[in-house]
């Protein structure tokens, strides 16, 4: 099996001029990148017929950005490889380009973007390329700063190439710790070649069911639900708040605010049943 690019060199070295050229000349690569970008765009659920502002993380030569342009959106792209960005400039993409390392954080003001897209880039963060790199820390710095620079009802969609199940967990866990909701959508799970992973994250609003992966009969999404998230937060905080009186009162209050029918509070609220029924 071919060596994974992340194992051969850091991204700013691997994506040199020769590699970058492929992203403007190799029709096969271009086709694949565009196809994944279109699918990610679909999962982004941006408002139709409105032009939004989107962040493209690991934008490279701007192939993913072109899909945003075609759909009438403005974009700002960030990438660690000067050579890739040079190709993007030569292609005269409409998006604006920034040289930056996603592991150092997204250096934008709060609430700047309507959404974010990232194609074939985030697996690079799972590697420690410098002696002081700690992948978990860099992922956490990335996701917390990304969360902050998105608007309150935004999505971020990442197509990526996980090396193994632990990497999927590591990435997803750091994203959830940072405040996001969401999960993984797997397209064509039964095909070695066409199988693709998309991490779909949401900043807030109404929790939506993730769509089923393409080429699947039943849903093949690993939706990370509120309960899983609570489990995880529990581990972080170390105690179970679920079903405590406070927790129930909070839930009831929310239901009332949402206009749902809710039982009145009483002195029995949140108490254990005696079991004598």
């Amino acid at each position: 099996m071919a060596k994974r690019p992340e194992h051969s060199a850091p991204p700013e070295i691997f994506y040199n001029e020769d590699e970058a050229k492929k992203y403007s000349q190799n029709t096969r690569i271009i086709e694949i990148q565009e196809e994944m970008s279109e699918r990610a765009y679909e999962l982004l659920l941006l408002p139709e017929d409105e032009s939004a502002l989107v962040l493209d993380i690991g934008c490279g030569s701007g192939l993913s950005g072109s899909v945003l342009e075609e759909n009438g959106h403005q974009w700002i792209g960030i990438d660690i490889s000067q050579a890739m960005l040079d190709v993007a400039s030569d292609r005269e993409v409409e998006g604006d380009l920034i040289l930056g390392d996603m592991g150092q954080g997204m250096c934008f003001k709060a609430g700047s973007f309507d959404g974010a897209i990232s194609i074939s880039a985030i697996q690079w963060l799972c590697n420690a390329d410098k002696s002081n790199h700690v992948p978990q820390k860099r992922l956490y710095q990335f996701f917390t700063t990304l969360y902050a620079c998105l608007t309150r009802n935004a999505r971020a969609v990442f197509q990526f190439y996980p090396e193994n199940a632990q990497q999927i967990d590591m990435i997803t866990n750091q994203a959830l710790r940072s405040g996001f909701y969401g999960g993984i959508v797997v397209d064509y799970p039964n095909s070695t070649k066409a199988k693709k992973y998309y991490l779909v994250l949401m900043t807030g609003g109404v929790q939506q069911q993730l769509p089923a992966g393409l080429g699947t009969e039943e849903s093949n999404t690993e939706q990370i639900s509120y309960s899983k998230k609570r489990e995880m937060t529990k581990n972080i905080r170390g105690k179970d708040v679920k079903r405590s009186k406070d927790w129930i009162m909070h839930k009831k209050e929310r239901r009332r605010q949402q206009g749902n029918e809710t039982r009145l509070d009483s002195k029995y609220t949140g108490r254990k049943r005696s079991g004598r029924f």
């Binding site: 502002l53 700002i76 604006d96 380009l97 954080g105």
Partner: protein, 124 residues
């Protein structure tokens, strides 16, 4: 670098920097490229724009006629203002120059239209 991007960029990823905004803007070379005016897009981002940074950008490139303060309610239907913002934010491109962190004076060079926001490992 478009001035829209300038309005959103900060230097807060540097260790110990609190706000890192607005960045100082130093332009050595700029160019203008006209693009289609899309008022809805400007209306959409208007509430997210920082007006002090708009003024800095307008002063740096010599665009005049931006009010000192912005009234969101009246501005969103002020076509003339929207058009001016369109020009300032999307048509003017900083080709060479630099951005400077207001708290540490760290310089981020802009070359060939691309700001270099990479930090050294001891800065993160």
């Amino acid at each position: 670098m478009k001035l829209l991007t300038y309005n959103f960029l900060t230097s807060k990823c540097i260790k110990k920097v609190k706000v890192g905004y607005p960045l100082k803007l130093n332009i050595m070379e700029q160019k203008v490229e006209s693009t289609n005016f899309n008022p809805e897009f400007i209306q959409r981002v208007l509430p997210r724009l920082d007006w002090s940074a708009i003024k800095i950008a307008a002063d740096s490139v010599g665009c005049q006629g931006f009010p000192d303060e912005i009234n969101l309610e009246t501005s969103t239907n002020d076509t003339e203002l929207l058009q001016k913002l369109h020009h300032l934010l999307l048509e003017i491109e900083v080709v060479t120059g630099s951005l400077i962190c207001p708290e540490t004076n760290r310089i981020f060079p802009i070359t060939n239209g691309i700001p270099n926001m990479l930090l050294n490992e001891d800065e993160v």
